[in-house]
Symmetry: C2
Subunit: 114 residues, 2 copies
C-alpha cells in the first residue's frame, strides 16, 4: 500500500434543500445560529465579520426559497436595527442542519479511528 | 412545526484531499471505477460520456496532486489507446472514496428513516 494513502483524508460538505433549491449551508446555519445567540441581526453579522447588508440579503434569500419567514423582528422595523429572533421554521431548519452535520461528523470520526 | 420542514432534505458531497488539495471527488471516482471495469481509458471515457482527452487530463491532474501514478498502461504507450489499469495507489484511493461515501449514505438513510 502506498504510504501516501495514509495522508489522504475525506472531507464533506452538506446543505439542506427544499424543492430542489439549496436553502441552508454552513454560512446560513452560522448566521441563524448567531441570530439565535445574539438576538440581533447587526450583532450576528458583526460576530461573523459580515456586513449588515450581506447578512440581510442572506436571510432574504433563504426566506424567498422557503416562501416563509425564518426570522422576525422583536421591536421596530425589520431593517431598523431592532431585535431579531428565529421563527419556528428558522429554528427547525437550524436544528435539522445541525442534526445531520453532527451525524456525518461522528460517522467520519468513527471511521477515521478504525 | 412548519409543514415545509418535512420537505427539507439534507444533501452532501464528499471528496478526498491530500496535503490540502482535492484529489478525488465523484467525477474522479467514477472515472477510476470505469477504468477498473473496462481496462481501458478510451472505453472508460466513452462509458462516462467524456472525451478521451478530458479523461486523460483528469487522470493527469490526480497524479500531479498525488505525485505518483494512479494508472499504468498494459500495452503500448499510455496515450496510444492501449489497455489501462489502476496502480495500487489508484485502487487505494478508489476504495477509500467508496468506503466513506458508503458510510455517509448509510448514516443519512438511517437518520432519514427515524
Amino acid at each position: 500500500m502506498s504510504e501516501k494513502l495514509n495522508e489522504v483524508k475525506p472531507v464533506f460538505r452538506m446543505w439542506l434543500v427544499y424543492r430542489g433549491k439549496n436553502v441552508l449551508g454552513k454560512g446560513g446555519a452560522d448566521l441563524l445560529k448567531a441570530i439565535e445567540e445574539t438576538g440581533s441581526l447587526s450583532a450576528a453579522a458583526k460576530s461573523l465579520g459580515m456586513s449588515y447588508r450581506y447578512a440581510w440579503s442572506y436571510i432574504a434569500k433563504i426566506e424567498e426559497r422557503m416562501g416563509e419567514p425564518v426570522v422576525f423582528s422583536t421591536r421596530g422595523g425589520r431593517g431598523g436595527g431592532g431585535g431579531m429572533r428565529l421563527t419556528e421554521l428558522g429554528r427547525g431548519l437550524l436544528r435539522l442542519y445541525r442534526r445531520f452535520e453532527n451525524l456525518l461528523e461522528k460517522a467520519m470520526e468513527q471511521e477515521a479511528r478504525r
